[in-house]
Amino acid sequence: MNRRRLIFGAATASFLLPVAVVAAEPIKIGSFLSVTGPASFLGDPEKRTLELYVEKINAAGGVLGRKIELVIYDDGGDANNARTFATRLVESDKVVAVVGGTTTATTMAAIPVLEDAQIPFISLAGGIEIVEPVKPFTFKTPHTDRMACEKIFEDVKKRGFTKVGMISSTAGFGASMRNQCLKVAPERGIQIVADERYAPGDTDTTPQLNKIKASGAEVIVNADFGQGPAIVTRNVRQLGLDLPLYQSHGVASKSFIDLAGPAAEGVRLPAAAMLVAEQLPDDDPQKKVVLDYKTTYESTQKQPVSTFGGHAYDGLMLLVRAIEKAGSTDGVKIRDALRATKGFVGTGGVVNMSPTDHMGLDLSAFRMLEIRNGNWKLLY
């Protein structure tokens, strides 16, 4: 079993024993993350972030005068494992809340278990189905792909265009975002004039782009992450298409610019504030939070910060805040406090929850970026 148990509370407590009063038991917070497997690029920074900040919180005296004990399991990206570990967190570890669920699949598998046990659960995955319809004990921190579509369409309209040619991958993220984009397009006054697909691993999208060109599209929107967007971007330039190209938040990492090379110039995308932390204006509410997290993470972990670790930071901080507000570790009370969250500034945006909104982010959480001179440029 790849079971991992990290008892920071105990470790820290043993140092502090002579001074601290050892009365209160630690508060157990559970997590299941895809630390290994295909989603490890998400799960690994999430795990590092949780460990790092639980240690910090404990060093500063813990929550409600009690230490936090973090129990992390690695589900390897497998939804079945996620469900098993969720059950174990509830039944044997008896955690008060869960912050985890790297992918939408692992999250969805664990939701029934945690809902049954009335354990507050803050997911770190993107899919909108996690919080729609609202489930009493399930929350999430990352932006959804629907918001990415809305942000893109908002910018498209702003530039005076209405005809969009979509090109998306047939795999998970691309397919889901495509569906959301098709759904919100009419509401935003956008006409989808082409809807092309390519399979993961495809190395040439010029046939699809040719069709988009012929469809009379004014802009191209590409929904995918990884290698696909880099190839689409290169192909657009190869064909000499003079249409603005939008990518999704799925490519919001430096490796996209490296892979797409000079073809990436002028590409626009919606992304979290983290990517342009230094460029945020000083009066931006998120600037301090994002910069603090970035410096803390990069100085301790010796690797560049990612938005994914930020989701875990937001989840943990939301939970800690809710436990403090509730003054209790009772599941229902924590849930009520989470729901009442207003004006929490996280790395993903300013969070305002309500009984009907368990994510609490609006479009302002996404920034519109453009790639200029091989770097991100914050537009607004």
């Binding site: 190395t203 010029t206 330039r237 190869q238």
Partner: protein, 290 residues
Amino acid sequence: MVELVQLLFAGLTTGAVYALVALGFTLIFQASEVVNFAQGEFVMLGGMVTVFAMKAGLPLPLAALLAVLVAVATGLLLHRLAIEPAKGATVVTLIIVTIGASILIRGLAQIVFDKQFHALPAFTGDEPIRLLGAAILPQSLWVLGGAAAIVLGLWLFMERTLLGKAVRATAANRLAAELVGIDTRVVLALAFAVSAAIGAVGGILVTPITLTSYAVGTLLALKGFAAAMLGGIGNPVGAVVGGLLLGLLESFAAGWISSTYKDGVAFLVILLVLFALPQGLLGRRAVERV
């Protein structure tokens, strides 16, 4: 017309890679009747080793040479450590051995290199060439030219050298080849080495267009195998024809029918061809030689 030329070149470029993978399949199949599913990993090694050697400061030609050598060494090790000890096992067992080997190579590449995608600079610039209104990357011409050179070189080797004739003799009848004094073990090792080299060169040529990562081999092996089947497994000309045809099918299906179902369309055509000609387009009539 513009669209036709564009689709044609897109299909030929993709197809040239499939053709090289299919050629690798064919060579090893001829010498041993083993379908080597680790063939895609040679393509991956070609690209990945070149990328990392260039990052370490080597110029492109040296990095490419190193990549081919690494792939050839891997091919020889695969033969020596996995195929040779299993001598006498059934063909199915040997095929499973190669699948295992491909998983191992992929896993090692993931650890030795990393899990990210990487690009190589195009050999002669990124500025597209205009041909009848269509935009073609100079690198596509490298891929097509490189593939043509490999096919020609292989043909000369098979037809004009003693060693090549030994390979063909082994393919025709292994026992008879042994009886006339051909060391079929050497021939088989040679087939693995040449297959690996062909795959690696293919990987180096296409990486500037397609990008590469530790995992690109799986899909290429699948497509290359389909191409080999389409052309008639065991026939080098068939491998090239099958590869190019598969690339063109995908490209025209995406351009003219539906990009969502382009792989479906391509595989449907393959199925129909195999229903009509079970031995593939240019395959030999089924000969019982188990």
